[in-house]
Amino acid sequence: MAEQKALTSIEAVESGLAAQGYIASRQIATAVYLSQQIEKPILVEGPAGVGKTELAKAIAAWRGMKMIRLQCYEGLDEAKALYEWKYAKQLLYTQILKDKLGEVLGGAQTLHAALDQLHDFGDVFFSKEFVEPRPLLQALEQPGGCVLLIDEIDKSDAEFESLLLEILSDFQVTIPELGTVSAITPPTVILTSNSERDLGDALKRRCLHLHIGFPEQRLEERIVESRVPGISQTLRRQMVGFIHEIRSLDLKKLPSVSETIDWARVLVLLQATELDTDTVKDTLNVLLKYEADIEAAAPQVTTFIAKAARSNVFG
């Protein structure tokens, strides 16, 4: 019984994401489902443009939660990611305190009595009011939960990884002056990485590791179908087939899903009904981002179109 329920839930994830225009493979759906069930972040790796960031957006849209995004870059630190003190407000506060000091201390005769009264006054200098929450803290403070996207974690420094560990494993952060802040509702955390550098084992251990590669032909057709509704079925098949042929080449940067979608849009704009050599050669720069790649692929275009057309007949 339980297994049956679990199965339908993975399917529910799949259909829920599909409703947001994100066609997920079974592996992706399993990962999203498991991350909900055992409350673990997902670390998504894969080449650029296969929909790592889109996944987080789709989850947020599907579950009607707020998405908080933290874009990582070299030099990102605590003050920009976690929290910062509102220095100006704190300064103002001391000014006010100075003005009111006479009233507060009132009739204190000795220094000792004055100090006692000051203690009673309450210390708000380092308190919640003066904390400026940054994305990580914001994510913990969302009452209804949220989707926290930590984008391109591989771009940040190794020190920043260590900062994340507490948040990832226990969904809490410790601010020295305030103590520990725990999440009201544990957020759904998605980390993405382009594998520019190897992440630390400690970080990897705390996450479910999901690798999104280039999708299979069928899946990619479905993705194009949902993203570019205006495209005809034959053209869709041909272009996806063509792109799969291109990916078999040894190129500097292989075209990924986002390029496929862009290209589909371009083809629709050009009102192409099927692939022909001239159109492909003219629009090859949408797919390939390096001059050397275009030069390498150009002579093969005719063969690939023929192959794609043939597979279209049989497939």
Binding site: E3, A6, L7, Q27, T30, Y33, I38, K204, R205, H209
Partner: protein, 458 residues
């Protein structure tokens, strides 16, 4: 099933996926969520929780397929044989039914193993093998030489002894039945052997690999066999990766507490010199600059090959490497090593300078003439060679000048210390100008030497 999962974790460790206790707990929790009914989902769930990189995913996927398909081959493989066998059984049972008085009674007296074999209940046999394998703790198997002992242990646990006794008895009383039992026993032996082989593939890989690497690490590089060269290259790459991980991050180290007065004043000029912002002294650290001189004459060529491979796979750690190869004269080989694959590069270097008898004197003269200007006070010079100069002038004076111009001069010698200074070895004469002289004959010594050189820059 939990037992099975634990065994799977062990198998996963065997293929090189690091499964920590915490990860195995996560995997358990994930599995309890998705259940066992759908194998692809189970596979996805385990891959998600246990594997931490694309390589690990592939390895673990293969491991999963091997592990959970375990009962399958036994079911498919003897299918053809089984068909015949079951027909045989049918015939036998029908004949048995006909001559019930003759065949029936001895069958009743047989032990459980014989009963099982005769009944040809494949599932029961598979289950019995599995449980016997558990009893014989097959998951402890480490080396291929243990295959025999584990097979016999499993067979013993299944009750082979009793079966043998019964066979002896039956050969006299009921030869036909004995014949059938013997054939079934052979099939059983085969099945057990397959199980053990599979166990070996699943559980012993890690140990075997460790052992092989250990042997390889301590094998003399100069006398390595041709078939091991590829393995050695893989090992060198592994060493390079480890060194890279250790040294690639230029660690920020401040000299805490030392105020940089000059920078502080400059930075606070806008406030009339009131130091709002302080600047602290920092230690400046350079990345290693290395000049490598490698002897590629017959005796040391192999070691130089591996050394150059190692040095040139340290891009992230070492900023600037210039390599020179020599036997009777010296050329620069950095370009060749950067652009070609290790095999091609070495072949080209050998065709250019290799196969001569080594002449350290004239090679050093070549270096001084053309490349002395590459040396800076930040450079570490590494000379790799046996210092056997065939009784020609060693020109130790040039080595002295090299040593004076560079940060350090390290000499790596593939020969053991005992041989230094004997025959035509000029090692003692060269050694006076070197900061460090060390033996470097095995991969392990090579790793230590390079690690020490890089560490002086940290």
């Amino acid at each position: 099933m939990r037992e099975n999962l634990h065994r799977f974790f062990r198998a996963a460790r065997g293929v090189g996926v690091h499964v920590s206790p915490a990860e195995s707990i996560d995997a358990m929790r994930a599995v309890s969520q998705v259940g066992f009914s759908d194998r692809t989902i189970l596979r996805d769930a385990l891959l998600l929780t246990l594997a931490k990189s694309q390589d690990e995913k592939l390895a673990l996927g293969d491991c999963f397929d091997l592990f959970f398909s375990q009962p399958e081959p036994r079911r498919d493989q003897p299918e053809g044989v089984d068909q015949d066998a079951s027909q045989d059984t049918d015939q036998a049972s029908s004949s048995g039914a006909a001559g019930d008085a003759g065949g029936g009674s001895p069958q009743q007296e047989l032990g459980p193993l014989a009963q099982m074999l005769l009944s040809q209940d494949r599932n029961a046999i598979a289950a019995a093998i599995a449980s016997a394998a558990g009893a014989a703790s097959l998951s402890d198997i480490r080396y291929s030489t243990q295959r025999g002992i584990f097979s016999s242990r499993i067979l013993d646990a299944m009750g082979l002894q009793r079966l043998r006794d019964e066979l002896d008895g039956l050969t006299a009383s009921n030869p036909a039945l004995a014949e059938r039992l013997r054939a079934a026993l052979d099939a059983l032996r085969e099945a057990v052997r397959d199980t053990v082989s599979q166990g070996l593939a699943l559980y012993a890989r890690e140990e075997a690999e460790n052992l092989r690497n250990e042997i390889l690490r301590n094998a003399p590089l100069a006398r390595i066999e041709r078939r091991q060269v590829a393995e050695m290259r893989a090992l060198i790459r592994q060493i390079a990766r480890r060194l890279r991980e250790r040294y690639s991050k230029p660690r920020k180290r401040q000299r805490r507490g030392h105020l940089d007065v000059r920078r502080t004043l400059r930075r606070n000029a806008a406030w009339g010199g009131v130091p709002f912002l302080t600047a602290w002294k920092r230690k400046h650290r350079d990345r290693p600059k290395i000049v490598a001189l490698c002897d590629v004459s017959g005796s040391v060529a192999q070691v130089s090959d591996f050394f150059l491979l190692l040095i040139h796979s340290l891009h992230e750690v070492v900023d600037d490497v210039r390599s020179f190869a020599f036997s009777s004269h010296l050329i620069e080989v950095s370009q060749i090593l950067e652009t070609k694959s290790p095999e091609e590069a070495m072949a080209e270097i050998m065709s250019k300078v290799g196969f001569g008898s080594s002449d350290y004197g004239s090679s050093l003269v070549d270096f001084e003439k053309d490349f002395m200007s590459t040396l800076t006070p930040q450079t570490t010079v590494i000379v790799l060679g046996d210092a056997r100069s065939n009784n020609l002038d060693p020109r130790a004076d040039i080595l002295r000048r090299i040593s004076e111009r560079s940060k350090r001069l390290v000499w790596l010698n593939p020969e053991g210390r005992l041989a230094w200074g004997f025959g035509d070895s000029e090692m003692p004469r060269y050694a006076t100008f070197c900061s460090v002289v060390r033996q470097c004959a095995t991969a392990q010594q090579l790793e230590r030497a390079v690690s020490d050189i890089v560490a002086t820059y940290q």
